[in-house]
Symmetry: C2
Subunit: 306 residues, 2 copies
């Protein structure tokens, strides 16, 4: 399959390299590290076994990439105002668009530009960071759940799930994409924001009783906010306990992407991870008070708000 990766940060490089290793024709839109990656290839370090890809098809401009069968979007959501323009040259009649970006609003943006029938969304549970130029450090997890923007299962979503599984990525096609998006937010909203705000890792937040309770209360707010959207079936209260346990087990010492963004002076994905979920929840009468407070505290630290 011919695949174009838009947004080749740690997540895009990781999944793209696994797909290339599995034999697909993968083209990467690269900004940072273009020279190193196209010159010397890409190294993936992983507890599951690292590997090196000698030859990476990298492009500085998506106009040079050609049309593809699948566009895999892993752009930071704060750059979404550029997304449609970056994707457009890759789109042929049959092209499917799969966004595995964080938060809400990304499928909607692609659907508006290219039509909802070609759009899928995926939720990646993964701990991955960039190391030195040309190196991706995979820390933990890595599975994807994906589904059609228009809802329901389809031959296409099954085929894409099979493709990821064959490439070594545990992947499940789901009928209710909105549900898995909100489930991911149950983790992202507390940990991305609290870690970025306090400069502490998840394990430290769980070790302090006051912030452990706060994380759990924020998770409850997000679960209620999601369930107010009329999902196919509600997110259960047990999901919170699963997330707390899984965090303690796998990502206790993991720096969430938003914490790294803050540390490295980049803007935060506040629109996709906070503002749109807050609006969707408020529209259904779910207040998410603590989430709103966390957003306000994060917004205060943004360069644009100074």
């Amino acid at each position: 399959m011919k695949i174009g990766v838009i947004g080749a940060g740690a997540v895009g490089l990781y999944y793209g390299s696994l797909l290339q290793r599995a034999g697909h024709d993968v083209r990467f839109l690269l900004r940072r590290d273009y020279d190193v990656i196209t010159g010397s290839g890409l190294t993936v370090n992983s507890p599951r076994g690292g590997f090196h890809l000698e030859k990476i098809l990298g492009f500085r401009d998506s106009n040079d990439m050609g049309t593809v069968d699948l566009v895999l979007v892993a752009l930071k959501a704060f750059a979404n105002h550029l997304l449609a323009e970056m994707v457009r040259p890759l789109v042929a009649d049959h092209t499917a668009l799969l966004t595995i970006q964080n938060g809400l609003g990304n499928e909607e943006l692609l659907a508006e530009a290219f039509g909802g029938d070609r759009v899928l969304g995926g939720v990646a549970m993964i701990g991955v960071n960039r190391g030195e130029p040309g190196v991706v450090n995979h820390m933990a997890l890595g599975s994807i759940r994906l589904g059609e923007f228009n809802g329901g299962l389809s031959p296409r979503s099954d085929q894409l799930a099979a493709m990821f599984n064959a490439a070594g990525v545990t992947c499940e096609a789901v009928a209710d994409l909105r549900k898995v998006r909100w489930e991911k937010l149950v983790w992202n909203i507390p940990f991305n924001g609290l870690c970025a705000l306090t400069n502490q890792m998840p394990g430290r937040l769980l070790a302090n009783p006051a912030t452990r309770s706060l994380v759990a209360e924020i998770m409850d707010e997000v679960i209620a906010g999601g369930n107010a959207q009329g999902l196919s079936e509600p997110i259960s209260g047990e999901y919170r306990e699963e997330m707390l346990a899984s965090t303690a087990r796998h990502t206790s010492d993991y720096r969430p992407s938003m914490m790294l963004d803050r540390l490295e002076g980049r803007p935060l994905e506040l629109e996709a991870i906070y503002r749109i979920p807050l609006r969707y929840a408020a529209r259904q009468g779910a207040a998410m008070v603590r989430v709103g407070m966390l957003h306000a505290l994060l917004d205060l630290g943004e360069p644009a708000s100074k």
Copy 2:
């Protein structure tokens, strides 16, 4: 009047020095800066006119201070476990105890140790910091409202108010001390905590729309929490607007005491300003959700919680 000042930080030194200048016999319990202050005196800088007191009666140990007519307590509330022991040597039969410490629980502590009938509380609206050793910088405001711990007006509370007024401190005796304590918390709870947490001054919090709303919402929670205590009359919703306007006018660039405590690595007054108010509010069914979240975030940064 013979007055013993326990807790000679910026606030205790400021009011004590005004009372001494007005002719009272004031004794200070000093830790930090004992040598400088007893050797070279105390300098007060103030927009209302600074002054220097050549001779300060300083003591390292309250056992050497003798009994007094009035004990003025301005100790940081995080040192309250030492308070009764420090105060005891100053107490004769007729001695009154006036605590102008922050937050809730201070009068209760003195009442338990010495009997409620000799205890008064005062709420100081003041911006004052310590400068170099032997120097107090008065920035803004300075008034005190004081009242009997047991409630109601008394000849004693009127007399103390008159004493402060004669010394140049605008002071009012009030019948409902609990009400003015909660009114002070309407300012302290948002600004002390948010400034300490974000390392930003009040004016910056009010300039960002998201945190300005947050400050107002926290003030609403505290007003509701106070009003749930059955005050003599409720704190009005207009009080919030007055506090926001007064902050913008007077203390926009003022570092609240808790912000300085955090910057200088001291513990924070979390018990008096957050935990006791949260307990009192919860007991009456008022949740103060954002206040609880702010407390959790502050607690995470405490040395003891690490």
